[in-house]
Symmetry: C2
Subunit: 253 residues, 2 copies
DNA sequence: GCCTCAATTATGATTAGACATAAAGGAGGC
DNA sequence: GCCTCCTTTATGTCTAATCATAATTGAGGC
């Protein structure tokens, strides 16, 4: 059995990938109903003609994705779909504009270095310290048409060189990506009515529904930046394609 | 070396999990800057005192999460953070209400069996067939206060027994979960202004910004249901905690 | 100097074997 | 009958070894 088998197999896909897809379709198509017990690892391994390790990898992946529930001794069951939950992606603004075939441009509206205030907690999530902050406001443009209004606070201590940067037409997000490479962020998405000032900047009627995304970014323990992105609701949307629950997804730090 | 090592280790965490966390913090804290070459598998394995397979599992996971880029021969590099992208979770309505400590209730407003129309394509994503559809509208209530307005189409052919169900106070989503267990769905999130009718039902001012989630569900190739959920923007929000990009995330079928 | 091709090398996949762990189920004692 | 303890069993983790694959590197030919 040490000879690798040469049976036809979808090009570029591995053995356990193939098994994962096969079992997933058995579940989604209803052949294996929720709650049903599925054969034990060793039997499935034999049936697919692979080792138990490979089968384990495939079943483990399906369990992480939420399709299977595995317990020692009890064996493996098809999961009960828990809830109508899902996961949507927030894209990078520049990528999003360019992917829609339009020209991207950033235009700085205002820029100030000032002491931190109480109201900044909205963007930072925590009560602001005594330090100075860099406050920015700018527009992301698609074909020179307003696409997204950005209001941002930057911690000059965490982002070296931020106060020396003028952000004339370089989006602060893009600059921060270079300056403070790895970071973790938390996000919040809401719908809000555009205020008069916001509506004017985005060339919208006052009160127009907008998608608001607030992102707070940390690196090495300190807050780096807090940003509020305001998208005209008519123009922007988040999209996701999805099966069961999020599983453990990416990072949780 | 066949004796399992008994070095102290975070309780409940496996060896590769421990390594994953360790390396992730090296990256996030900036000790390993983006683009830098990291030691080869064999050396890291030796350094952590594990086999190459275990090291491979850890590095493979970090690569799936987007922290590392691995290429044959070239070795493994710390990834360049690509973009300010992220992923947010859409929770199940009932879970969400209950998790906020309020009582959940569903209240059916209208129910109709009728022929499919052109306008239904908005909820289905595809031009409707010639068949009949079940049309429903109802309110999700939190402590008897409007929380979410649901407008739904159901395919009676794909969801057996749907026409016989009256949905008096059972949310169609919950019922469908039982009747058509496994399915895949696509989602779209937007901000919209409440129309007069919607505002009245949700007890909001006309024009109030609302979060609109449209979900289209398929199972075994046929469309099962299309639903539009309308949340008062002031009350509802999506939240995510996140590191790098989505990786490959959950399912893509 | 430049191109081609083969050797090298790091990651990727797979396997068989071993031990760990948790839980179900049954045997035995009371 | 009921409780306790031990055996059984299925999954979980880890290892060492092997082959596969892709890309870089360098040697040789022109």
């Amino acid at each position: 059995m040490s000879a690798p088998d040469r049976t036809v197999r979808a090009k570029g896909s591995t053995r356990h990938d193939h098994i994962v897809e096969d079992i997933r379709s058995l579940i989604v198509d209803g052949c294996w109903p929720p709650g049903s017990q599925i054969p034990v690892e060793t039997e499935l391994a034999e049936r697919y003609g692979v080792s138990r390790m490979t089968m384990n990898k495939a079943l483990g992946q399906l369990a992480r994705e939420g399709f299977l529930v595995r317990r020692k001794k009890s064996g493996t069951q098809v999961a009960q779909p828990r809830a109508e939950s899902a996961v949507v992606a927030i894209a990078d603004i520049r990528d999003e504009v360019r992917n829609s075939g339009r020209a991207y441009r950033f235009h700085l509206l205002a820029r100030r270095v000032r002491a931190a205030r109480e109201e900044d907690a909205l963007l930072l999530g925590s009560p602001p310290g005594r330090a100075e902050v860099l406050w920015l406001q700018g527009l992301h443009l698609a074909d020179d048409h307003p696409f997204c209004l950005e209001t941002r606070l930057i911690n000059p201590e965490a982002a070296e060189g931020a106060t020396g940067q003028d952000f004339g037409d370089l989006a602060p997000g893009a600059w921060l990506l270079e300056a403070v490479p790895w970071s973790v962020a938390s996000h919040r998405v809401r719908a809000v009515n555009a205020t008069a000032a916001e509506a004017r900047l985005l060339a919208l009627p006052v009160g127009e529904a907008c998608l608001e995304i607030v992102r707070r970014t940390q690196a090495a323990g300190a807050w780096v930046t807090g940003v509020r992105l305001l998208y005209p609701g008519s123009e922007h949307q988040l999209v996701a394609n999805f099966g069961p629950e999020a599983g453990d997804g990416p990072v949780r730090s």
